[in-house]
């Protein structure tokens, strides 16, 4: 047995055991699951720490600073401020980087969402209703789409009680929302089953050589 095949076989066995540990949760909480869960959390936290260093902190901070690009001192300072949380006395300084992140994040969201979810969605809702030259069902579909979007939006009116006309339209909106939820659910079922098949194939074929 060469080192490489040993590696592969050993790795497969670890993978198989951990897979079974996680599956055991379906029966009930048990020491095997608890073991796998804690290992899982520890390893993934360590993984992210290392990954963060090599893929973010090093190329985006240390390398540019080593090349004397001083504009990177600001993120360095903010990053260090973030760590002041560790000493309670000056912990309030960590609010600065947090404010920076929340502020720039919010600013980006304002324009991104107005552009992609407002303007673009309006545009894709504007479809010709003119029956000439189109089969009747295209027209019908476009009308249904329109009714669905408008009534769905009315459901989200907060400053009006859902009574009278508003209530009626909002009710139609709920119908569309419910159909949409049901459909999305049904659409996903098959993909989820393939995930399980993938896992079982790993166990039965690659590990046990069963099939």
């Amino acid at each position: 047995m060469t080192l490489e095949t040993f590696d592969t076989t050993f790795g497969l066995w670890i993978g198989a055991l951990l897979t079974l540990c996680i599956f055991s949760f379906l029966y009930k909480d048990n020491p095997f699951y608890r073991f796998a869960e804690h290992l899982f959390v520890g390893v993934s936290a360590g993984y992210w720490l290392v990954y963060n260093y090599w893929n973010i902190v090093k190329p985006n901070l240390i390398d540019p600073l080593a090349a004397r690009r001083w504009q990177y001192l600001l993120p360095l300072a903010l990053g260090i401020f973030m760590l002041t949380r560790l000493c309670p006395k000056i912990g309030w300084l960590s609010r600065w980087p947090i404010a920076f992140m929340i502020g720039s994040g919010s600013g980006l969201m304002v324009i991104t969402y107005l552009q992609s979810n407002f303007l673009e969605q309006i545009k894709s809702t504007l479809v010709p209703l003119d029956p000439s030259g189109q089969p009747w069902y295209v027209l019908a579909n476009n009308l249904i789409l329109l009714v669905g979007v408008v009534s769905g939006l009315v459901y989200f009116f907060f400053s009006k009680a859902h009574t009278g006309v508003t209530g009626g339209v909002a009710r139609i909106g709920i119908v569309f929302l419910m159909v949409s939820f049901g459909a999305s659910f049904g659409y996903t079922v098959m993909a989820r089953i393939s995930l399980l098949i993938g896992r079982l194939y790993f166990l039965l074929h690659k590990c046990a050589g069963f099939i």
Partner: protein, 288 residues
Amino acid sequence: MDSVPTKPRRSLVDRLKDIDRRVIFVFIAVAVIIPMVWPIGLSLKASPPSRALFREVESLPRGSVVLMAFDYDPATEIELGPMCLAFLKQCFRKGLKVVGLALWPQGAQLARASFSEAAKGYNVRYGVDYVNLGFKAGGIVVIDSLGKDFRESFPVDVDGRPLSDLPLMKKVKNFADIDFVMALSAGDPGLPFWIMIAQGRFGRKVGGGCTAVSAPMLYPYFPNQLVGLLGGMKGAAEYELLVGEKGPATRGMDAQSIAHAAIVFFIIIGNVFFFISKRKQKLMGARA
């Protein structure tokens, strides 16, 4: 994860209505495992896109060169891996030469495994009948560069051997020497780029395989830009059927259909029990 403790003296219907979820779990597990171990071979008819792909490859003369793209990762291997195996077996049986490459980083390793698995039982040699060029980042740019010279993006193969040492690559310079392109793709970069460049710009025949989720988006390319398409596990199972090699997809497809049926069945009985108990409650209410 125990179920909610049940009150004593509940009727059978009530108890079935709030069945312990672990019972459902067992049914699902059985519905998936049994067909995987003992494939049933539920009647499956190859759809036109799968059949078209099969016929196209069958019609290629012996010695033709097929370029195969492994643009996926382990997460989608269960869907795309079986397609790849069935397709490679067809190529090896027909005496076609296969050049593999990957636009996804983990594709190169998957290609290595697939080649060695498919090569079992066929008299094929690495370098002569098939090569694995490995991974190259860049997506559409890489595909574009193949039109000029393979060596631009892939100066060496996956193990670092220069292409000049590989007999097969001596007669393959660029797209002009490729007779067929087969792209297995799980997303971006993937099949649409191959269609755009290899088919659109260089006029190569392109076939493809994709996940079930992205199949509806790619079907419209068939048959004008794509000579054939395999969609998800179903497409893979169809191809296994055509090639005559019942493999993992046939098993998986059986498992998927039966598990799906099990869920449908549970939804139906859930509603039946629900209505029975509702009617009973109504009757009891009327009596009281």
